[in-house]
Symmetry: C2
Subunit: 206 residues, 2 copies
């Protein structure tokens, strides 16, 4: 019985993920989800308790689903190949036809950036954890002079630009651009970081 309950919850959350991908996490409602699943609204309400709790559950579920795909990457030897594999997993995740509206976590970053509350808190926790994981992956092979958070910032930049290039511009070159950008970042990470060039604002003091 516990297993069946777990399966039902997974099925509900997969459907919620699909709807959140299309309509945004904000567009998700217990009523809409119940209708999509032909379940009773009161039953779903009893399950999640509130729209906010449902939104947090969907974020956690998206993170768990992405985590399942990333497991193979985490088992790979630490080094540039792990970062390369991470990018491929991310791009495949963003392009997954099961979620035709793209990555609901990335979408939520733009919906909840200025909405204080438990959904934003859950989102920020996920994003900080992602930043820390990427920083650790770079830290395993980068020159020790680097702040790994700088490299993690630039890695996230590539994934966000891929999302934009493939979903907004619908550019056929999106993957090639992202991969080239990552190769450049990996090559730089292996060298000591440069001093700020003359005329550029100093990152440390501005």
């Amino acid at each position: 019985m516990a297993e069946k309950g777990e399966q039902t919850r997974e099925r509900i959350l997969d459907e919620a993920l699909r709807l959140a991908s299309r309509d945004g996490l904000e567009g998700l409602s217990i009523g809409g989800l119940a209708a999509a699943l032909s379940l009773s609204k009161s039953g779903l309400f009893a399950h999640f308790g509130s729209k906010e709790a449902l939104q947090v559950a969907v974020l956690d579920h998206a993170s768990a689903r992405l985590g399942e795909r990333s497991a193979a990457v985490r088992d790979a030897a630490a080094g540039p190949d792990r970062i390369r594999a991470l990018l491929e997993v991310s791009m495949d995740w963003m392009d997954d036809p099961a979620r035709p509206g793209g990555c609901p976590i990335t979408g939520a970053c733009f919906e909840f950036d200025d909405q204080e509350g438990p959904v934003r808190e859950a989102l920020v926790q996920l994003q900080r954890a992602g930043q820390a994981r990427t920083a650790a992956a770079f830290g395993a092979f980068a020159d020790p002079g680097w702040d790994p958070h700088q490299l993690a910032f630039e890695y996230r930049a590539i994934t966000l630009a891929y999302h934009h290039a493939t979903r907004v511009l619908r550019a056929a070159q999106a993957r090639a651009w992202a991969r080239s950008a990552l190769e450049a970042l990996i090559a730089r990470a292996r060298q000591p970081p440069p001093l700020p060039s003359p005329g550029a604002p100093c990152p440390a003091c501005s």
Copy 2:
């Protein structure tokens, strides 16, 4: 009288921009805008005709306001300093307290990526024009071996990651990270592009 009409329209669109920044372009409604401005809903409806037409007008208005700020940048000599100034203008635009919800164009990229129609068309046109302008700005000083669209992709990556770092992570280092990433991109753009490193997927054939 024509001037007064123009001023009224500007005032309406500035308020719409502020609301779209907070609630998203999708959250904008003629009724909500009328209430915020203490104008009649029928008057605003006569002005814009439909929610979609209002959304397109707001996108164009955002682009025009950003364009006003970029004018000084475009007058600067072609070269790395123009790209540096562009990034500063972008970051100031994203942080403008008049639009506490961030850049409505960037937000719209995540709302309308999968919604076909005139709003998405207007958005894609703006984004393609931006991509072309950035590519031209890099083309003015980059090594001729580069595809300037690769560099424009990486420039957009930095602006999107800045938006994320400052608005989601609220990281104090966001500007420093973005500036360092841009300096690295400028330095690379001046050198011939590298061949794909062994073991990496070839961008041209994958």
